[in-house]
Amino acid sequence: MSYFDLTFYVFAIGAVVSAGMMVFSRNLIYCAVGLLFALASIAGIYVLLGADFLAATQLLVYVGGILALLLFGIMLSVKFTGVELRTGTLQMLPGLIIVAGLFLLLLRMIYRAEWAVQTPGDMLPTTTTIGKRIMTDLLIPFEIASILLLIALIGAAYMARRERS
Amino acid sequence: MIPNILSVIVFLPVVGMLIVLLLPKEKKTAIKMVSAVFTGLQVIIAWQIYVNFDTNTTSMQFVEQVKWIESFNIWYFVGIDGLSVSMVLLTALLSFIAIVASWNIDRAEKAYFALFLLLDAGMMGVFVALDFFLFYIFWEVMLLPMYFLIGIWGGPRREYAAIKFFLYTLLGSVLMLLALLVLYFNVKDPVTGGHTFNMLHMMDQANHAGILKQFNIRLLVYAALFIGFAIKVPIFPFHTWLPDAHVEAPTPISVILAGVLLKMGTYGMLRISFPILPDAMKWEPFLYGFVILAVINIVYGSLCAMAQTDLKKLVAYSSIGHMGVVLLGMAGLTSLGMNGAVLQMFNHGIVSGMLFLLVGVIYDRAHHREISGFGGLASQMPIYTGIASLAFFANLGLPGLNNFISEAFSFLGAFGSEAFNLKVYTIIGTLGIILTAGYMLWTLQRVFFGPLNPKYVNMPEVNTRELITLVPLGILVIVLGVYPNLLLNLMEVSLNNLVQTVLNAPSFLLGMQ
């Protein structure tokens, strides 16, 4: 087992375990922490796949931003009496069955598909390329995304503060 | 001159109906105004037709012919001649008057006026259609609104009356459809050689082929058509829908029923049965049967009218009697009788319309129609009495008023027929003159004369709206009574041609060709 493989398994298992913690934990805080670790592990996977810039983004945006946001959400919406911090689950059994079915189907697809796989080249730094492409042929999507973010920001702020209307 | 004038006059009410449907149902006045405007426009267009009508030709005028359903050789084919023009005028006039008379309809106005306009379009279409299939479509289009108009806005037994009307007419339609199909499959289109619904082709005996060359088949087709139309006229054993429908229908609908719908029966005979199957019409058992039924209609209708205690029923039975005169006039196949008959169709439309409106006037005030429940109205409502007397006297055939001329011509035509000996029947038919006078005067006496019924001392005189509906008809009653040429000029050439065509038509009895 190569170093690459070992790293993959570490991160993969870390991601799956923390994701499982997120899904099956009843405590909202544990959920959040589970998600945190899952996302961080995914960032590791990104690194393995040679996406250094994305891994950095993942950590910055998700782990730093979104997760903080989610935690704020939890804290704001739940009364801190202890009990309320727990979240119940619904239709766990049918959910599991369906999800398992879906997983099997996905597995079947993954293994049966004839992926047009190339031999991966060297892992080069991607930041330059990404920056160039974003500023050239992907400029318009990028700008749209920026506007979207701006709108989302304003909208979210507006909706969240409409308390006394 | 308006292009496509016939399509315009037929579909104008449909446009009106759509506008009515688009209006919110609370805007009652707007709905009524729209209906009045559209039927009024129809009258103006009818006037245009009257002015532009060429009285010297036997051919169809204002013809429009567009292929409609190619695979069955069905055409949108309309046109009018001297026979239909008077009916178009009558329909336009009575529709307008009936709309004005509908002003006090007080529930579901939107539906009422929409249905009424649809009915109007159907009636107009029947009178202008020259494609048998198109004719049939319009015939059916007219049926349904009538059913609802009686069934929803009618009197206490409206459902019974409406269903009876519907079933009767449906029976007629089915028989007509059978005849229609036989004709369709056995008349050659002279151009393509295929089947055709074109009435003008059907009228040309040379186009008849197949089983239509067998005389007994022709008789069967004629009989089916006859019963189909006889129900509409209505002729004696098929008449019982009429009193019920008339009595239960709201006043304006009774006006349309008596004024226009009854005419469709005789119109159909003259437009379809007679010219398409002249030899069957002239077959003596049929012809004399026809005349006997006509005489029964006259005498029996008048006697039944005399026995009625309900004013509206009386008028209804009187219609049966008067339509008998039309039939008698048609049967003799003389130019005088034919013109008298068609003129009588028009005149009866006007007079019976007037009578129903008059009944409506007192029904609105007294809320009943029992003849014996009135009395002495003449001193309370002098204007009303004057107009009513005019209508009553017109109905009993007073010279100088319109019905006289047409009845006299019908009788003269039948009596003087050279093709058939109808003298005895005509003489029996003239009994109707006495009987009509009898029940009309008796009614006049019971309703208007004698001491005033104290219940009605405050009965209001006819109002302006009612006068608007009555006066134009009253004027026509007098004008056509003095100068019938106004209408006779229109129809004379076509009707004489019709008489000649039927008289000279070859018979398939002995195997023609």
Binding site: P94 | A307, G400, G416, G438, Q445
Partner: protein
């Protein structure tokens, strides 16, 4: 020129009718002056016409003008005016009586709530009557014939609040209609054979032999039916006495002088239509009518009823005269009768007016001093109708009797002798009942003191017409002009080929003279005999009429009840028709409609049967399907939790299911 005058004579009353009916109430004096002055203008115009026509002094004088009214293929119906001596005379009679009646009505109808309407109707009548006598064809005469009928209907029923009045009006119109239908059939027959309505053309075709024999007789009798109705001849005479329900001036104008004479005029106008056989019928009808009506008049107590029956009787005379070929005599009597009968009715009207609408002679008596003008004129008229020599009635009645005797001598038939005998006997009866009425009304002691005291002579508008008519009653019979101008028409006049002289005319000249003398003597004798008997009973009171009526109670009741004609008709024709109509109504409602409804019921029954089958089996299936769907619905409803997660779950489940199915199928 003359034609234009006549057209105006006819149309002016129509115009005044139109104005009067619509605006009469708003005109000053309710517009009574309008129709009245129009009638006087008409009178003037008809005098001018008469002057022009008579100045020609030609028995064959004849002007026509017509226009094409309706043209239908080969049939042309013309409408036009025919003016000859007879028309001129009739125009004069009608306008004279009508204008005087208008004048009289101003006083008589004063204060009536429908005063203006009354004058409108009078105008309508005048128009129709004048049209009737000037029109030149059968259809036209029929039209005006009906129109006079309607005006008569409206005027009889003028006081329609009274049941008796509206009944009488209806009866008049209907009885007339019966006759009219006969006439209409006659016109149908004539038209079917000759293809024309024009008098001259029809007569021309008869002369040419196109219409002859039994058919001609039938046509003649049918046309005569119209006259039977309008001139109140047996058996259709029953309407006229009832018609007295109308205002008295109307009775004078319509039901005495003019309209009822229209039947006589019709027979005169179409005289050549009548074959020998038809004339026999006509003479018989006229005679029977004259006799029956006179006998009834003898016992009547209502002054207007007496006059009504007298009118019927006199009309019978005229018809009988025409029937026996006394064309001139009949029409002459028509003219003189118009004068004195109008006078009698107006006189009676004056009496009734004075007595505050009392018509029963038993309530009158002794009025001669109270109403001097009325009495004097009434006396003149009574003498005229009774045939006292020197007055108009004498000449005309004498001419009729002479004509009938002449005919009897010519044919030698018992039938004609009987006619003569009955007519002469009736002349006596006439004198009797008329003087009876005169004595009961004006002589003796007042039998109703209260009404007598209030009685007073009528105003000038009412007495002037009386005097005017009295003048004509006195002088109307003199002069040979009528005899010479209104000559009996014969077929040769209408034949297209040259006229053949009436060969029989000269031969009978001598016989006629002999007949005339006998008739004159007999008629004077019977007239005075009648008067004498009347004086015995009612003037000197030598005998008691009451005693006689008690003694012959059967006859008296028979006469009092007018030979039970009304009862007979009521029981047969009226009740018969009504019963028949009831039966037909029942038949229609129960049998024909019952058939329909039973068919419907049967259909319903069948449909119920098939409906049950349908319900249980066919519909059962349908219902099961529905139920299953319903169950599914109810079950599936549970799934609609509203929770998004559940929906996603189901969507995924379905996706997987479909995927698996797809896999299984591949």
């Amino acid at each position: 020129m003359i034609v234009d005058y006549v057209i105006w004579i006819v149309l002016l009353p129509l115009i005044s009718f139109a104005i009067q009916i619509f605006f009469g109430k708003r005109l000053p004096r309710q517009g009574d002056w309008l129709p009245t002055s129009v009638m006087f203008i008409d009178l003037l115009l008809s005098l001018i016409v008469a002057g022009k026509v008579f100045s020609a002094y030609d028995p064959e004088f004849r002007i026509t003008r017509s226009f094409e009214w309706v043209v239908l293929g080969t049939t042309t119906i013309k409408f036009g005016i025919l003016i000859d001596n007879l028309t001129a005379v009739m125009l004069f009679i009608v306008t004279l009586v009508s204008s005087l009646v208008h004048l009289f009505s101003i006083g008589y109808m004063h204060g009536d709530p429908r005063y203006s309407r009354y004058f409108a109707y009078l105008s309508l009548f005048s128009f129709s009557m004048l049209g009737l006598i000037s029109v030149d064809n059968f259809l036209g005469i029929y039209m005006f014939w009906e129109l006079v009928g309607v005006s008569s209907y409206l005027l009889i029923g003028f006081w329609f609040e009274k049941h008796s009045a509206s009944n009488a009006a209806k009866k008049a119109f209907l009885v007339n209609r019966v006759g009219d239908v006969g006439m209409f059939i006659g016109i149908l027959l004539i038209f079917a054979i000759t293809h024309t309505f024009n008098f001259s053309e029809v007569f021309g075709k008869i002369a040419a032999g196109e219409l002859s024999g039994a058919l001609l007789t039938t046509a003649g009798i049918l046309i005569f039916c119209g006259a039977v109705g309008k001139s109140a001849q047996f058996p259709l005479h029953v309407w006229l006495p009832d018609a007295m329900e109308g205002p008295t001036p109307v009775s004078a104008l319509i039901h005495a002088a003019t309209m009822v004479a229209a039947g006589v005029y019709l027979v005169g106008r179409t005289f050549v239509l009548y074959s020998e056989h038809a004339l026999l019928v006509i003479a018989g009808i006229g005679t029977i009518t004259a006799f029956i009506a006179a006998t009834i008049a003898v016992v009547q107590m209502d002054i207007k009823k007496v006059l009504a029956y007298s009118t019927i009787s006199q009309l019978g005379y005229m018809i009988a005269a025409l029937g026996v070929g006394g064309y001139n005599a009949g029409l002459f009597h028509l003219m003189t009768h118009a004068f004195f009968k109008a006078l009698l009715f107006l006189g009676a009207g004056s009496v009734i007016h004075a007595m505050h609408h009392e018509q029963d002679m038993r309530q009158m008596g002794g009025l001669r001093h109270k109403l001097p003008v009325t009495f004097a004129t009434f006396l003149i008229a009574t003498m005229a109708i009774s045939g006292v020599p020197g007055l108009a009635g004498f000449f005309s009645k004498d001419a009729i009797l002479a004509a009938s005797l002449e005919k009897a001598m010519e044919t030698g038939m018992l039938y004609h002798y009987t006619i003569f005998a009955i007519l002469i006997f009736t002349a006596g009866l006439t004198a009797f009942y008329m003087f009876r009425a005169l004595f009961l009304t004006f002589y003796g002691t007042p039998r109703n003191k209260e009404k007598f005291d209030h009685a007073h002579e009528s105003p000038g508008t009412m007495t002037i017409p009386l005097v005017a008519l009295a003048v004509f009653t006195v002088i109307g019979g003199y002069g040979k002009w009528f005899e010479e101008l209104v000559r009996k028409p014969n077929l040769q006049m209408f034949a297209e080929s040259g006229a053949v002289q009436d060969a029989t005319h000269a031969a009978t000249e001598a016989a006629a003279h002999g007949a005339h003398t006998i008739a004159m003597v007999l008629s004077i004798a019977f007239a005075f005999g009648g008067i004498a008997v009347a004086m015995l009973y009612y003037y000197w009171n030598k005998y008691s009429a009451e005693a006689v009526s008690k003694k012959f109670a059967g006859i008296y009741n028979f006469l009092w009840n007018k030979w039970y004609f009304d009862e007979l008709y009521q029981a047969t024709a009226v009740r018969g028709t009504l019963l028949l109509s009831k039966a037909m109504g029942w038949f229609d409602l129960n049998v024909i409609d019952g058939l329909v409804n039973n068919t419907a019921r049967l259909t319903t029954l069948i449909s119920f049967g098939s409906g049950t089958t349908d319900n249980r089996i066919v519909d059962g299936l349908v219902n099961w399907v529905a139920r299953i769907i319903g169950w599914f619905g109810a079950t599936l409803r549970e799934i609609q939790t509203g929770r998004v997660q559940a929906y996603i779950l189901m969507a995924l489940g379905a996706f997987i299911l479909l995927y698996v199915i797809q896999l299984a199928m591949v």
